[in-house]
């Protein structure tokens, strides 16, 4: 990159550009009039340009406004280079930058939609969820920022939870969902192979886990596995219904984050699992997350039934906020 930081190339480019423009002007001026030797009687008006011995060019001048257009383009080019970046590293009088343009657009969007988001932010999450316009905004936000992991229908993928069922790892109250989006979550299942015992024990525990949700399993192995499940109770609880404070999943339903086959469960026990939901507070800001959380909550709840109009808090007076 030294080529571009030592200043020489800047000057080289700027000089080339300016000389080119000025050269055009000089060429135009010098070519707008020509001196020729008058031929014979001077009757036939030619440009004096003779080639192939006797071919001459009739002088049919262009209208003068053409020439002025050329001069105007030269003036325009110089003015442009003075105002905008275009001459080497010279930034231009107006200080225009493409990043500045982006910032302007961003500010414009914020000015336009900011009040709308501010309005929703003052409303209770369930009320926001019942608002069709907020729902449409939430859907677009979801498609832009969340669909990569959870799918555009929000039904998740392997390792990324389905958001449309009532099963929640960290809790499904609207405020909890908002908390999850704002600050992210880390779900960690440590490798438990050694704690449970050997391969045989791990397989037995896997069958026991399957039996909890009445899935297809080997009854004999699962009885043996039940004894070994003690190591898992710390997180999943004695009843195996999970713990939303830790993000430990409920093992008694048929909803699986990584898959419900014996092989997958054995892998989960042996190697553990770590999942990360990134935090969006800094990136999206609280106001957008508010609308987004309401949308996600509405995917598994019917906001029209839940939102009671009486529950809408009155806007606090502006003075009281300060």
């Amino acid at each position: 990159m030294a080529d571009f930081t030592n200043g020489f190339w800047d000057i080289y480019i700027a000089a080339l550009t300016l000389l080119g423009i000025i050269g055009c002007g000089i060429l135009l001026y010098s070519q707008s009039k020509v001196k020729v030797v008058k031929t014979d009687a001077g009757k036939i008006d030619t440009t004096g340009h003779v080639w192939d011995e006797d071919l001459t060019e009739l002088n049919t001048p262009m209208p003068r406004w053409w020439m002025w257009l050329f001069y105007i383009t030269i003036v325009f080019a110089l003015a442009y280079l003075f105002l905008y970046p275009g001459l080497g590293s010279y930034a231009g009088k107006l200080g225009w930058k493409s990043s500045g343009q982006y910032q302007t657009e961003l500010a414009k969007a914020d000015a336009e939609y900011g009040p709308l988001f501010a309005k929703y932010q003052k409303q209770d999450l369930k009320t926001v969820a019942a608002d069709p316009q907020a729902h449409a905004i939430g859907e677009r936000l979801f498609l832009t920022y969340c669909a990569q992991c959870h799918g555009s229908d929000a039904r998740g993928n392997k390792g990324f939870p389905n958001l449309t069922d009532k099963d929640w790892l960290f809790g499904g109250a609207p405020e909890t969902i908002q908390e999850t989006i704002l600050h992210g979550r880390v779900g960690a299942m440590p490798p438990m192979g050694a704690a449970v015992g050997g391969d045989k024990e791990v397989e037995a525990v896997a069958h026991y886990v399957l039996s909890l949700s009445d899935s297809t399993h080997d009854p004999i192995k699962s009885v043996f596995g039940k004894e070994k499940f003690g190591a898992c109770m710390a997180c999943h609880g004695a009843d195996a219904k999970g713990n939303q404070t830790l993000g430990a999943p409920n093992l008694t339903d048929k909803i699986w984050l990584f898959g419900g086959s014996v092989e997958t469960i054995k892998e989960t026990i042996n190697k553990g699992r770590t999942t990360t939901m990134p935090a969006f507070a800094d990136f999206l800001g609280e106001a957008k997350v508010h609308v987004l959380a309401a949308y996600v909550w509405s995917l598994s709840n019917n906001p029209a039934e839940v939102a009671a109009p009486a529950a809408v808090p009155a806007d606090p007076p502006v003075a009281a906020e300060k």
């Binding site: 070519q31 707008s32 009039k33 020509v34 001196k35 020729v36 030797v37 008058k38 001077g42 008006d45 440009t47 004096g48 002088n59 001048p61 262009m62 209208p63 003068r64 406004w65 053409w66 020439m67 669909a147 990569q148 992991c149 959870h150 799918g151 555009s152 229908d153 039904r155 998740g156 993928n157 392997k158 048929k254 898959g259």
Partner: protein, 461 residues
Amino acid sequence: MNAPQEQVIKMYAAREEIYPREIAGRYARLRWLFVWLTQLAFYCTPWLQWNGRQALLFDLGTRKFYIFGLVLWPQDFIYLALLLIISAYLLFLATAIAGRVWCGFACPQTVYTEIFLWIERKIEGKRSARIALDRQPASLHKFGKKSAKHAAWLAVALWTGFTFVGYFTPIKSLMGEVVTLSFGPWEWFWVLFYAFATYGNAGWMREQVCKYMCPYARFQSSMFDRDTLIITYDSARGEPRAPLSKNGNGNHGSCIDCSLCVQVCPTGIDIRNGLQYECIGCASCIDACNTVMDKTGQARGLVRYSTERAMDEHLTPTEIRRRTTRTRVKIYSAVLGLIVLATCSALYLRKPLKLDVIRDRGSMGREVEDGMIENVYRLQIMNTSEQAHVYKISAGGLDTLSVADADTVRVAATETRGYPLRLRVAHGAGHTGSNKINISLTAVDDPSLHVQESAVFIVPR
């Protein structure tokens, strides 16, 4: 030989003002007919209504073109292209047969110049009066006439600009904004820009647009051949020309050298020098010379529509007419006919329903209850008709392929709707990897409204 003398030649020169003489005649009437036809169409069309909306509206904001009962979406751009191709071919065909008839009679530049010239004539008077006025030193009288002319020109130009914008913004609400002058920035720009272009081109630039700026004029000659009709001066009959006073010695042609044909020419050329690129084929010189011929008691047609071959080979008008159906013209007509046919049938078969299928990028395929494999798609359904419809979604191409939840979707009139679609197959259907499937939409109330798109279904390992 004299001693060599130097002289300076200017490559750019000031334009010489042309004062076209007013002329009446068959072709002048024809031109005025075209002025009326084109301008009535231009000024009135945006005011027509259809189905409670503007009949012809190119709504760039919502990217929809309304043409009476037809609503074109950006995806229908091909029709616009076809329309332009048809127009171009019509132009080529007309040019091959009759030369620059478009330029002389229907081109907006000609039409507006004609209108502006009419205003000029009404205010400043006849050709001689206009020349005299321009030679006068500045005076209150001159200033008054000139400003009246420019004011009238500007009024026409502004109305033209306003009408032009009315094709892109509903003209009725635009009319309401005229009163308060509360156009939006783009409306302002285009009204003023188009008005300025009209005023500048028809008022100031005139023949210079045809001579120096018009791209069509540059390649028209490639459509000309020896049988193309052109405005010609019959020099065999006209020469040697002699003024009327010398009439009688019998040793001269029909041209009385009155130079009327030069005075009426809007591009300021002398047709007696033969076909020149500046000639826009307006036929004013024919009208002019015919009047002269009538007065001198000679046969009309010293200047007339004829062809290069007719001049050389002395063809009769019937022979000229017969030569209009030559191979070149036949090919142009055949191509034109084919394109028109294709466009009409494409428009007739066009369905006001479009479907885009986008496979969800976030997931390949997932296992759901009962070991079913599920893929997610996002349907982009465009109901381009002006009625709401309920569509039934179906999928095929793979054993046990079915739609996972609701398989009907309602799309409002002219709405584009995104719809998440889940498709499922039973475990073991298809092969690992991508399987070709198709997804179709059928309107419940009209089974002929049916589209099908191909997609892939991914069965994970």
